[in-house]
Symmetry: C2
Subunit: 287 residues, 2 copies
């Protein structure tokens, strides 16, 4: 006899992001769960979410997740910090039976565990920084930690332009992070949370500038571990060999541009023809 | 007896942009037509338009312009190059009685007149460059001109971050424009079209890098002249003294952020409380 959870285990994992940044999380999920099918949805028509208001981010995220839920998913990963900050609570309310993971809590846990001094820095979008979400999440786990967050909006555009590892990236990083790290070593952070899924691309440049001793927190691996644990606990892990997985890519605009930037983020070629376009809000919802 | 055009002359000019860049055009319109009322609508929820597909840009622009038309305007200025390129034809079809001005044609005319050598460079968003709109428009006016266009997407983010006049801006400009200007003077352009309404903010940095002899084409003044001519020809110029004009600011998201960046673009303080939020697509159009 097959139970409902047996059937659900063959469903894909849904991965949502405002654009292409969440592909760093998709890559970690693929490494950790190679037998799972996945659907990635990037809201490339309305990216970036970082500068938008909490209400708009929650509304756009809700529309995108409703689309993934309608396709059938067994787990939702919100692979975007800004969407996690502004929409996770509403998503949990609207989809009470769907397991949902955001990226802030795993990042906060990794930072609380990874810092020796308890001085933690966070770089993120304007929306994430203004929400104070990382300070709150780290504070719950390690109340004595000090957390300094900096909005680094330009890094998103730099990553999408493919300029994450050169003199311009270093100049931008030095302007954003110099005041944090280039000071008395007894006051500088020893741990930096990459609080936007675009930012792992700057890891080499950050190491060049601020040294190998800073612990960089890229929550994608932590999120992938949490996803594996959650699926196992619910009996939703997919049986079978790794080779059979399928990944679908959905984008709300410009599949060719998505494929080009996705290839850079994933380090492998994504053919423009396999990227499916979806319209949000759904055309059936408008007159 | 008052004719219909007498009544319409008291209506405001509608100025549409994907975000805040069009404020450079609004500023030029205010200088040229100080007695006119104006409504500026920035689609800040869905900015930037530069990387989006032609269909999405046309759809978003259509929704925004329908909102301005419903408020009552006597002239529409599409103060965004990408929207002009992808949506102007559809707007003219959908609003046959409304005078409409885009920014590409005036910029092309100014470039064709302003270049001595006939070697013209254009910097713009990815969408504008891919459309070939400037090459076509300049070619119609001055067929012997050579036009080289470069997509400079990062400049939009730099302008919004307020980093348009320093070493980082110069590094970015040198990377985008160096290959055009740092070569045999007999092959370098003598005229550079700022084909995105954000780009006039880079004028000082461009002059520092590439010298005072390059003619920079900022179409905002040309657009303002065209608006004045068009209103005069239609009998739609507003009578009365300059002091009575009113400017309304509408934004589709985050009025506080709009006000902060608008203050930088206009060089005067815009109070967040006067920026009105409008939702697009209109809530009445969704279930």
């Amino acid at each position: 006899m097959r139970s409902a959870s047996d059937d659900r285990s063959t469903l894909p994992i849904g991965v949502f992001d405002s654009g292409v940044g969440g592909l760093t999380v998709l890559a970690a999920l693929r490494r950790r769960l190679p037998q799972e099918a996945m659907i990635y949805l990037g809201d490339t028509a309305r990216v970036p979410y970082g500068p938008k208001s909490p209400e708009t981010v929650a509304s756009y995220t809700g529309e995108a997740v409703a689309h993934l839920v309608a396709l059938g998913i067994k787990l939702l990963v919100v692979a975007c910090n800004t969407a996690t900050v502004h929409a996770l609570a509403a998503l949990e309310r609207d989809h009470p039976d769907l397991p949902i993971l955001g990226v802030v809590e795993p990042g906060a846990m990794a930072a609380a565990a990874g810092s020796k001094s308890g001085r933690i820095a966070v770089i993120a979008t304007e929306g994430t920084v203004r929400s104070g979400a990382y300070e709150a999440a780290i504070g719950r786990i390690r109340p004595a930690a000090t957390v300094e967050a900096r909005a680094c909006g330009l890094l998103v555009a730099l990553a999408e332009e493919g300029w994450a590892e050169d003199a311009i990236a270093e100049g931008v990083l030095r302007r954003y992070l110099g005041p944090l790290f280039e000071r008395d070593p007894h006051r500088a952070p020893d741990c930096l949370v990459l609080g936007c899924t675009h930012f792992p691309l700057f890891t080499p440049a950050i190491r060049t500038l601020f040294g190998p001793w800073v612990t960089l927190i890229d929550s994608s691996a932590t999120v992938a571990d949490a996803a594996a644990d959650l699926l196992a606990a619910r009996g939703l892990l997919r049986a079978g060999a790794a080779g059979v997985r399928t990944i679908r890519y959905l984008a709300t605009d410009a599949p060719d541009r998505f494929a080009r930037i996705a290839s850079r983020f994933l380090g492998e070629w994504i053919a423009p023809t396999i990227v499916e376009r979806v319209l949000l809000p759904a055309p059936s919802a408008t007159l």
